[in-house]
Amino acid sequence: MLTAATLAILIVMFMAICRVVVGPTLYDRILAVNMFGTKTVLLISLLGFVMGRPEFLDIAIVYSLINFISVIAVLRYSDSSIFHHSKQQK
């Protein structure tokens, strides 16, 4: 059952990658990165169980933190960078 779940998550990660490549607006890409991050957290905890080594969960915790911080960073700098950028065109 675990391997079936890991397979499902791999498929979803692939979809997220397609969305990042295709995504018209900037925010689609950020959304896909966010989704990708949470799916990797799941993948790692599942891998931890499949391989029978529970220490992987520390990495999963770090992952979700880093994912949160990078999404916040992207938002924080994306609005000001557009502001910065658009001013140059004016």
Partner: protein
């Protein structure tokens, strides 16, 4: 007794991965950014919770349970906030949702 735990964890994992896939399909199929946002936001938190609970039932070792609980609480806290921040930034920068679609 343990067959019950086994089947329930099996069930949780099944539902969790199905939700994941629905989220994935949602992110590709939906036309507009906000509908995609809705699809991902909902399934992301729920599917993660489902799969984590499924994992919890799998192995009753104390430390592992504690860590899994941490991850569960963390994702429940982080998921909605990230989606909120994303939506707020999108609206502020003038990404108008397409309301007139058929």
């Amino acid at each position: 007794m343990d067959t019950l735990i086994e089947t329930s964890s099996f069930l949780f994992l099944l539902i969790g991965s199905f939700l994941c896939i629905s989220g994935g399909v949602g992110i590709l199929k939906f036309p507009d950014f906000y509908t995609r946002m809705h699809a991902v936001g909902v399934t992301e938190t729920l599917a993660t919770a489902m799969i984590l609970i499924g994992l919890m039932l799998q192995n009753p070792d104390a430390l592992v349970l504690l860590k899994l609980l941490f991850i569960l609480l963390l994702t429940l806290l982080i998921g909605p906030t990230a989606s909120h921040a994303l939506a707020q930034a999108a609206i502020k920068n003038g990404l108008k949702p397409e309301l007139h679609k058929k």
